[in-house]
Every structure is written in structure tokens, then in C-alpha cells.
């Protein structure tokens, strides 16, 4: 009897391992990883807080790093997190030539309003200020930021050092907020950016988290505006074409999209080419920086509405 119990327990254990191994990726790891992230984040932030206090202006030198993040729409992060600057966190961003950076925030201007509307993101009224002209380089940005600022007076009020800070804050927000924010399980995506701090914890690169409902809907909305979808009979064939795409942080394609599946012919080829045109035409895509690890490589599937 005992032998029997052992065998059944073994079998049960093996089966559990198989099932839970898969479950592990989506459930338990996320829960587990939250805690260590928090602790790490808090530690660092405390240091930076003590060092920087409310004066994010000191972070000027981080701008190159920050700016990278800024493009990703700080919108997602709550206002309160702005103070916490994490220089170590930021370090992953290589020093970027300022002019280059400016361009990106400038072009992002139209996006923030769009993004800010999304209810899915954390309250982002603050985001409006993004590219402040604080930096000597950012005269152009200054103009931009003035425009978005009016709509978000409350957000502005929260941060006294707004003029200078906005830029940094925006940058930091995404990182810091992601680290601190307990409610956002996708934090791992952000921690992906801060590899150096968290690598030792062996956290997954956000693979376990799935915020595609958020960024997927954003991508979908944008590309659907561009997709000149064939109609007039072809829909009866119910074609389906998919592309593997890789995006950069600024929302532009890293490379030409790769068709997923056999090369189509006839109707399906026209469908496929129209989809490819839409993907290329619609860049840069405005997607939340916090989930970059998720949307840097994914597969949009163009198809008819399900019956």
C-alpha cells in the first residue's frame, strides 16, 4: 500500500509540475516577483530621494537616458512618483545626443493627448507637461510643452519644480512608478529596462505578464485607421494574414515586418499587402513605454470580424 501511495503521489507530483510549470509563468512568478522588486526599488529610491529630494533638476545629466523613456509616454505613471529618480535605473539608457532626443519628444506631442485619454492607463493628467524646455537644448520642446500644459493644470500644480522637472519627471515616472506601483503587475516590463538592478533577482523579462489588452487595443486602434481593408466580396473568403513585427521604443518599426505563414496568393496576397502597407504607413506607434518589453515584438493578425 505504501508503495502504491508513493507511485500515485509521484504521478500526481509529476502532473502537477507539468501543469504548474505552465501556470508558474503566468501566476505565481508574478506575485512572487512583485515583492522583491518593491524592495529593490524602494531601496534605491530612498537613496535617490535623499540625494535629489524634490529637485529633480539635478538629474539634468540624466536627460539623455530619461528622454528615451519619455517617448514612451509617461502617461501611465501616477503623478506622485515623479520625485523618485533612480539614477541607477536610468543608467541603462546610453547617453543620447540631445538633439536626437528632442526630436522624439517633439513628435510625441500629438500622442500624449491621445494617450492621456485612455482610461486603462493610470491617471496621467500629469503627462501633459512632458517635454519641458528646461534643457538648453529644448527650446522647441518648450513650445510643445506649453501647449499641453494648459489642459493639465491640476497635474502641474502637484509638482512645484515643473518647468525643469517635467522632463525628468516624465522620464522617471515611467521607471519609478513602475517599480513602486504595486498595482501594476506589468512592472516587470519596466524592470526590464533596469536590468542592472534586478537581474540578480532572476526576474523574468515580463514574459509572464500580459497587458496586451492595453497596448494591443492601442495598436489596433492606430493601425485600423490606416488599414485600407479590401472589401466587396473578398470578405467572404475570410482571409487571415499575420506579420511578426518588431518595434523600437519610439514606436517605429525596427525592420520590415515578416509575414507569418505561407506566402499568400490571389485575394489573400492583396489582403496581406494592404495590411503590410498599413503597418508601415502608420508608424510611429504610440504605445505605453511601461509595457515595451511586451510590444517590442508581437504579431498583429489581420482578419475579418468574427461571425
Amino acid at each position: 500500500m505504501k508503495v502504491k501511495v508513493d507511485k500515485t503521489v509521484l504521478a500526481s507530483v509529476v502532473l502537477h509540475v507539468l501543469v504548474l510549470g505552465a501556470v508558474l509563468l503566468s501566476f505565481s512568478t508574478r506575485a512572487l516577483e512583485v515583492r522583491p522588486e518593491d524592495s529593490v526599488g524602494v531601496d534605491i529610491s530612498l537613496e535617490t530621494q535623499v540625494a535629489a529630494g524634490m529637485k529633480t533638476g539635478k538629474k539634468e545629466q540624466k536627460k539623455p537616458l530619461v528622454e528615451k523613456v519619455a517617448e514612451a509616454k509617461p502617461v501611465e505613471d501616477a503623478v506622485g512618483k515623479i520625485e523618485e529618480k533612480k539614477p541607477p535605473v536610468v543608467t541603462e539608457a546610453a547617453p543620447k545626443p540631445q538633439p536626437k532626443v528632442e526630436e522624439k519628444p517633439v513628435e510625441k506631442k500629438p500622442d500624449p493627448p491621445k494617450v492621456a485619454e485612455k482610461p486603462k492607463e493610470e491617471p496621467q493628467p500629469v503627462e501633459k507637461k512632458p517635454e519641458p524646455a528646461v534643457d538648453p537644448i529644448a527650446e522647441a520642446i518648450k513650445k510643445e510643452e506649453k501647449k499641453p500644459t494648459p489642459p493639465k493644470p491640476p497635474a502641474q500644480a502637484a509638482k512645484p519644480p515643473e518647468p525643469q522637472k517635467p522632463k525628468e519627471r516624465v522620464f522617471d515616472q515611467s521607471k519609478i512608478a513602475a517599480l513602486i506601483d504595486k498595482r501594476d503587475p506589468s512592472r516587470q516590463a519596466v524592470t526590464g529596462e533596469t536590468l542592472n538592478s534586478n537581474a540578480s533577482l532572476g526576474l523574468s523579462k515580463g514574459r509572464a505578464s500580459d497587458n496586451s489588452a492595453t497596448w494591443g487595443a492601442m495598436f489596433r486602434r492606430q493601425v485600423e485607421n490606416c488599414w485600407k481593408k479590401p472589401y466587396g466580396g473578398i470578405e467572404q473568403e475570410r482571409p487571415e494574414v499575420a506579420f511578426n513585427i518588431r518595434l523600437k521604443k519610439d514606436g517605429k518599426l525596427e525592420a520590415m515586418p515578416v509575414p507569418d505563414g505561407a506566402p499568400p496568393t490571389g485575394y489573400a496576397r492583396a489582403y496581406s499587402e494592404s495590411a503590410l502597407r498599413a503597418i508601415i504607413q502608420c508608424q510611429p506607434y504610440n504605445l505605453p513605454a511601461a509595457y515595451f518589453e511586451e510590444w517590442k515584438a508581437f504579431t498583429p493578425v489581420f482578419q475579418e470580424r468574427p461571425l
Binding site: 489596433r220 502597407r277 504607413q281 508581437f298
Partner: protein, 452 residues
Amino acid sequence: MTDQNKLRETLLLPNRRQIISGMAALGATAAVSPRAALAQKRVPITEGDFAPLPIAIPNFVAGTQSDGEVAVGVTQVITNNLRRSGLFAPIDQAAYIEKNINVDLAPNFQNWKTINAQALVTGRMTRQGDGRLKAEFRLWDVNTAQQLSGQQYFTTPESWRRIAHIISDQIYERVTGEKGYFDSRVVFVDETGSKERRVKRLALMDQDGANVRYLTRGSDLVLTPRFSPSSQEITYMEFGQGDPRVYLFNIETGQREIVGNFPGMSFAPRFSPDGQRVIMSLQQGGNSNLFVMDLRSKTTTRLTDTPAIDTSPSYAPDGSRLCFESDRGGRPQIYVMPANGGAAQRISFGEGSYSTPVWSPRGDYIAFTKQGGGQFAIGIMKTDGSGERILTSGYHNEGPTFAPNGRVVMFFREPGGNSGPSLFTVDVSGRNEQRVPTPGFASDPAWSPLLS
């Protein structure tokens, strides 16, 4: 449950290390090849924007000094065709940045991206030493910087419009995946004069309204011209002194022959898909029934035998079935029947009466005239009767005919009052209604198959 939890926890700790190291390895490979990521998220995209594709069509280059006029003419015909299809939006030439096109080289795509062109057509017309006209074109995808299509044609100088239609079809097919319809003709009844003394002549034109020529003099009433699917022939009815006669007219040779004297015929016959037979409805007493006649042997076979009015038959493109109009159930409705006769199945069930059914060359739809609520509508439905869609509705719309690719329907519309009918086209999705230019009033259109 608790046992399971305990088990899970005990199992997790050692497993997690393995999994994490495995995932670290995965992460490394994922950085290199995105496809390695098991979790490559699939995001469904199901809606689109029905706006037409912006396309740039600069004037074709003149290969020799004297080709300037024909080059511009070809460009205009192509631009007009693509615009009228509703699927392309040709960009105004005034906006082009690039002024000098070199047909033999890849274009500077940035210049075209700047004006938001997604496709570009370049071409050249060159008169050859032997008198022929050479036409070349290339179709480019601006976003992917690829050539999508490129062709070269030789023809007589007088046929430059046909070349333009053929090139239009090539562009249309390559981009939409559907067969084109620009290289085709329409035969219709041209109407002139006041409403009381209308003169009706048979007329033939290119589908874009060009090259109109009259096939009859107008002394006798002509009705319902119909195109053969396989040859450049048409049938039509002419009312002379006696009963209506059905004529077979060869467009290319101009020869005309009488198919027969058919007392009591109301519609001209339609051809079978192989062009060897015609199907017609003959009136006997108060009824009307369907008959098939072999064009060579002139033998006639009866298909229906009902005390009702069965009329206006139309074959499916594969010749296996046909649709027709019958009031055997009370009001005129559409029925589908095997080509050799047999049980007819009703497929129209909406409010109103259905008439003049015509089967699409693509085989997927049947177009019809629907009358009800004081309005005449043109609609389509699937061949089993489902998916009924009204394309247009108004005082008087009648007589649908399909383009060779089954995508566009032409019909005639009368606005009422002292005015006269005109021809219109509409896409099978109900979009892009366009008026077809004709010299005078026009009715009873019939669309030819592709000429090439």
C-alpha cells in the same frame, strides 16, 4: 487543496530556479530572434478604413517627340478608371515633387512618400519604326520600395485607349487581388427626343463612356440588348411591324442575323455561359414559360410549364443553374433552378416584388430590381437568397448588369418628370455610386466580358 498548495510550494522552489535560468536563456535568444519568444502575442485586427488608396500617376513619358499627346491621353484614361473604381485616390499632379520620371530606374521613393502616395505608376509610350505603338509601365509600392508589376505592350496607334484600359486592369488586379473590368464595353439603348416621341437606338461604348457608336437607326423600337459571354455578339429585341424579333449582332463584323420570330416575347434572350444556347421566356395565353434554344440547330426545349409568368432567366457562370423571375407564388419573386429544368426554389423573401434577376460572373451574387413601398431599388443577394443588400433606391431604378469581375453593378435610373433615364454604376458593397456619361438619355445597359 492545502495539500496541493503544499505540494506546489515545495515543488516551486527548486523548479523556479530551473525555470528562471531557462527563461534567462530564453531571454537571451529572444533578444536575438523574436520568433523564439513563445509568448509572441497575437493581436487581432478586424476593422479598416474604407478610404481609397492614394496613388500617384505622373504623365507617361513620351518616347519620341510625337508621343506626348498619346502619353498624356493614356495617363488620363488610367487615372480616370482608377478614380471611378472608388478604390484608388489619384493624387493631383500639381502636388508631385519629382518632375522628371525615368521609367527605367527605381524612383526616389522619399519624394512620393512626402506627398503620401502609397503606390506609384510610371510609364512610357513610344512609336516604333514599324508604326506600332509601344506602351510600358511599372507599378511601385512606395512603402516597401518594391516594384509590384511591370509590363510592355505593342499595339496599333488607334488602340491607345485599350492599352490604357489594359494597364488599368493590371494595376487594379495587382493591388486589389480581384480581376479588373476596365477593358470592357457596354451596350445600351440610347434615347433621344421628347418623352412622347422618344427615339431608341442601340448603342455601344467603352465602359468609361468613350467611343460611342450606334448599331441601329432608331426607326424601330429596340429593347434589352444582351452580351454573349464568349464572343463579341449581342442579342436584342426589335419591334417592327409585327411581333418582336430577336437579332444576333456581331460587333466586330457588324453582321446581323435573326434568331427567330417569337410572338409574345417580352425580354431578349440571354446567352448560356458557353455562348452556344440562348434562354428565353415565351408568352402563351396568359402564361409565360422558359425555353432554351440551341443557336446552331435552332431546336427549342421547354424548361418550365406553369400557369404563371416565368421570365427574365439568367445562367450561373458555370452553366449548372439559372435564376429567373416568376409570379407563381403570387407576386414576382426570384427562383433558382437546375439548367435542365426541374424543381425551382424560391430565394427572395423580402417585402415587395423581385424582378430582372441576373447572376454575377463571379458566381456569388444575384442582382435584381425590387419594387415596393413606392420605390424601385437595385439589390444583390447571395445565390441561396441570404445576405440581401439594397445598393440604391429611388423613384425608378431598374435593369442591373454586372461588370466582368462581379464587383460593380450598372443599372439605369429615371428621375421622374420630363427628364429621361441615365446609366449609373455602384459597387456591390453599396458604395461609390457614379454616373456613366452618355451622349443622351440611356437605359437597358448590358456589360460585356473582358475584351482581352
